[in-house]
């Protein structure tokens, strides 16, 4: 019986003797595997990006958004063209009364130009309260966050992100300086240490001021969001009901706010993006199948090119099984090499994506890597079974006659 080691050596010789053919097959296989790895890495990256975005908001969060996401036909208010009521600071204050509410923070968002000694920048301003720091799990690098005072009273203080600090103040100390925001001046009382994105805003590029100041700065009485942190996960439904009831009472019996939990949002995005990852992975897998068919074609050509060699091996005493073994080993060597190259290609591609878009954690998921390698091997073997069987069945007399 032909020893496996010798069979591998023989097949390896056959591969290395025909470099063009081997290179083309490796290319096809590695593009297949590589595209699966890269595309799933992209999908997974998008999923992780969104997940991080939302989970960085905080834990056990309930978010109150003005406006109703559902409409009912018979609502007289809609018929009269009355828009929903704004979410006000008093609404937010009313929500603090529930015992299961750990902390609560209103949020107002607006854009404004900031300047200090001639350095100017357009930034997004977040108006909120002292609780926001803990709610968002932010860290201070210097100074203090907003003071815990009456929400209704404007105060000319601000907390800035690390980027703002570097860009506006440069080498100067920022704490205690008066920063111009729009047409007002605010004293810098703290610098945030945290970085990263959330709600589409880079924390290090933010300026945070008291909510009342933001309302007067942007001249809006309403709030953009109310963030409510619930003490325990189990209490979330109760608190949600409390929020809805309270706000309905305050809004003349009309349910004109949307209350969502961050978990629900996360779960939805997670589902959508996981499906997306599977989908792109599946599309990429088609290229693997194409590579498999290419392997079959090339192996068929190989078998007919090497017909006389196969006939010779038979005349030297190779059984059909031995021929089958040799051709299959050649295919396995090819597809595993191709898979390995494709894997490297995929990893390199993912690295390039991560390098080019640092916010996107484009790491290929383990299942996709394992699956692409397995599919590569299996298609390689499966699609060369037909040519290998053809070779094994060759009549040695006919095979030897052909040159």
């Amino acid at each position: 019986m032909l020893l496996l080691r010798d069979a591998v050596r023989f097949s390896w010789h056959a591969l290395t003797a025909n470099t063009v053919r081997t290179f083309l097959m490796l290319l096809a296989m590695s593009i297949g595997v590589g595209s699966v790895v890269i595309l799933t890495a992209l999908g997974e990256g998008a999923r992780n990006y969104i997940t991080n975005e939302f989970s960085s908001l905080g834990t056990n969060l309930v978010i109150v958004i003005p406006g109703r996401s559902e409409t009912s036909g018979g609502d007289p208010a809609t018929m009269l063209g009355v828009t929903e009521r704004d979410l006000t600071l008093n609404d937010a204050l009313a929500l603090t009364r529930h015992p299961q509410v750990q902390r609560i923070a209103p949020l107002n968002i607006g854009g404004a130009e900031i300047s200090w000694q001639g350095r100017k920048r357009e930034v997004s301003i977040q108006g909120t309260s002292a609780e926001f720091l803990k709610l968002r799990h932010w860290e201070m690098s210097q100074g203090k966050f907003l003071p815990d005072t009456d929400w209704q009273r404007p105060k000319s203080v601000c907390v800035i992100g690390i980027n703002i600090r570097n860009e506006i103040f440069g080498a100067h100390a920022a704490l205690g300086k008066w920063l111009r925001i729009g047409d007002r001046r605010f004293r810098v009382i703290g610098i945030l240490a945290s970085e990263g994105q959330s709600l589409g805003i880079d924390v290090s590029d933010s300026v945070i001021i008291p909510v009342a100041s933001a309302q007067s700065l942007f001249n809006v009485p309403s709030l953009f969001r109310i963030f409510v942190e619930v003490k325990t996960r189990e209490a979330i439904p109760k608190v949600m009901a409390f929020i809805k009831n309270t706000l309905r009472d305050r809004h003349q019996g009309e349910e004109d706010v949307t209350v969502i939990t961050q978990d629900a949002v996360l779960a939805t995005f997670d589902r959508i993006l996981t499906a997306l990852t599977y989908a792109v992975g599946g599309i990429a897998a088609i290229s693997l199948a194409v590579a498999g068919i290419l392997i079959m074609n090339v192996m068929l050509v190989t078998v007919s090119q090497r017909t006389s060699e196969i006939g010779l091996l038979k005349s030297l005493g190779a059984s059909g099984k031995a021929i089958l073994k040799l051709i299959l080993i050649e295919a396995v060597l090819l597809s595993s090499l191709g898979a390995a190259f494709g894997f490297a290609l995929g990893q390199a591609g993912s690295w390039v994506i991560r390098y080019a878009f640092p916010v996107l954690p484009a790491y290929p998921p383990t299942w996709a890597m394992v699956a692409s390698l397995l599919v590569a091997l299996i298609t390689g073997i499966l699609f060369s079974l037909l040519p290998a069987k053809k070779a094994a069945r060759l009549n040695p007399v006919d095979a030897l006659m052909r040159r």
Binding site: L312, S315, G317, A322
Partner: protein
């Protein structure tokens, strides 16, 4: 010992049945030097393929060293071919990507023989074929005569009892051809049964027994007087 009993081999060509071998009965003793001659299409190559177990008879029995080899499974026939039969072809049939030594080694590899033993036997064969300096050369770098000597070394590396040669000098010039024939005859003198298919009358005349074939039949079977 080779014994053929009433061997028929029919081919279907279109709706016609061609009798490539028509009722061949033949006994070849161990160590004989036999030439098979005849015009093209007389069935001599079919006979050789059949003797080499590359082809199956349509009917009749083939005994090799007393065993009925027509009854063997495909795997067993392959193994019998590997151990008992050596082929030498007109076109050499060397694998161009392998070195001379690797080509010679092939039957040992197919038999699953240990690498150490293989190397010993290959170097021994290279030595006896005068090919030592050519061991690491690939076939395209060898002369025709050298290629055929590599093929003979490969055919005999398993120490078979029968050596089948199909026009072994057909692609060689006279000098190289003579050298190859002398090599084959030397092997025969050491006991191997040598069966040569040839068109060449002078080559046929060198053998101790000569068979002439015509239309699938053995026309004459002359055992030449041994002249040495």
């Amino acid at each position: 010992m080779i014994k053929l009993e009433n061997i028929h081999r029919n081919f279907q060509v279109g709706d016609q049945t061609v009798h490539a071998l028509n009722d061949i009965t033949l006994t070849i003793n161990d160590g004989e030097y036999l030439s098979v001659m005849g015009p093209s299409g007389s069935g001599k190559s079919t006979l050789l393929n059949l003797l080499g177990l590359l082809d199956q008879p349509s009917s009749g029995k083939y005994f090799l060293n007393g065993n009925d080899v027509t009854e063997l499974s495909e795997d067993m026939q392959a193994s019998t071919r590997n151990k008992n039969i050596g082929f030498v072809f007109q076109v050499f049939h060397l694998i161009p990507r392998l070195t001379a030594a690797e080509n010679i080694e092939l039957p040992l590899v197919l038999a699953g023989i240990d690498e150490k033993i293989r190397k010993q036997r290959v170097s021994h064969a290279l030595e006896s074929m005068n090919l030592i300096e050519r061991a690491e050369h690939k076939p395209p770098q060898l002369s025709g005569g050298q290629r055929q000597r590599v093929a003979i070394a490969r055919a005999t590396i398993m120490q078979p009892s029968v050596l089948l040669a199909d026009e072994p000098t057909g692609n060689l010039d006279q000098k190289a051809g003579l050298n190859v024939i002398e090599t084959l005859e030397q092997l025969n003198q050491h006991g191997i049964t040598l069966i040569i298919v040839t068109h060449d009358e002078t080559l046929g005349a060198r053998s101790t027994r000569s068979i002439r074939m015509l239309d699938g039949r053995i026309e004459s079977d002359n055992i030449a007087s041994w002249t040495g």
